[in-house]
Amino acid sequence: MSAPTASPARLWRKAALVWLALSALLATTIVCAYLPLGDIKLWVSLAIAATKALLVAVIFMELRDDGAVVRLAAIAGALWLAVLITLVIAESATRQHDLTVFGQQVAAQPGAAEPAAPDP
């Protein structure tokens, strides 16, 4: 049995450093939610979330130490999710017609004309 190269204290310290960074980001995102940031609020919170996720993935999930093949598998998940969301939003945002359900107009798509009054 080989001697350990790291003591428990060193491992706990390493985890604690990452935990401090994650906690600071958590506090930041909570504070930002209540600030009057306007339109960029969503992007700020998503950017902070992405940073937290990256810290967890690279250090806790050890992507930093793994080979390229494993990193590729990890990136693939995020990549295809990005493709999914992008295409769905692109399709929805570029619709030309109004949404009609059972002969009555229920909602106008963003950018389309205002819906007509429903038939009595």
Binding site: P4, V18, L22, L26, V56, A73, A76, W80
Partner: protein, 210 residues
Amino acid sequence: MTEPAAVPEPFTSFERQRFAASFGMWIFLATETIFFGGLVTGYTLYRFLYPDAFAIAGAHTKAWIGSVNTAILLTSSATMAVAVWASKERLKPTVLTGLGLTAALGLGFLGLKAYEYWTDISENLVPGWPDFPLDPPQTQIFFSFYWIMTGLHAVHLTIGIVAVAAYFLWVRADRFAWARSGSLPALGLYWHLIDVIWIFLFPLLYLVGR
């Protein structure tokens, strides 16, 4: 410590088993990302279509519960990471402490979630219920996503807690070569993904319309 056979069949070495476990688990995690991603896509679309309704609805989730739960899961990721790192160094007491804390924190999350669900139900924040308190009706779409996303996450978390508890018992009894096998790191990867999923759910469900 008695260990099972030195060669982890069908692999030729523990190093290859560890790589296979890591690679295979990441592929599974990619599928889990798409799995939750379907819900996230739906949420994105409906928030894009009804931003005002989402802002009204989003203000009625319990921000303090979401925040505390996020902190709990971040901490559990730290304890899980220590358990995995310690297993490679053969530090058995540290592994058991890490796994035990991880499971305990997971149970704490579930307990707080149960309390949160109870308060949400007492406020009738369930889409489709006649006493649903909010207007316009698209606020119910937000809460549909809230219940499904957090519920699905809680199911995954429960599975994770059971697995961590099982591994705690197996490591304590030296039932497998936990220092060289790839299964403890694989369990760690699963747990961290549960944390990462919640990291994204938190701003989407708790930091809207504040």
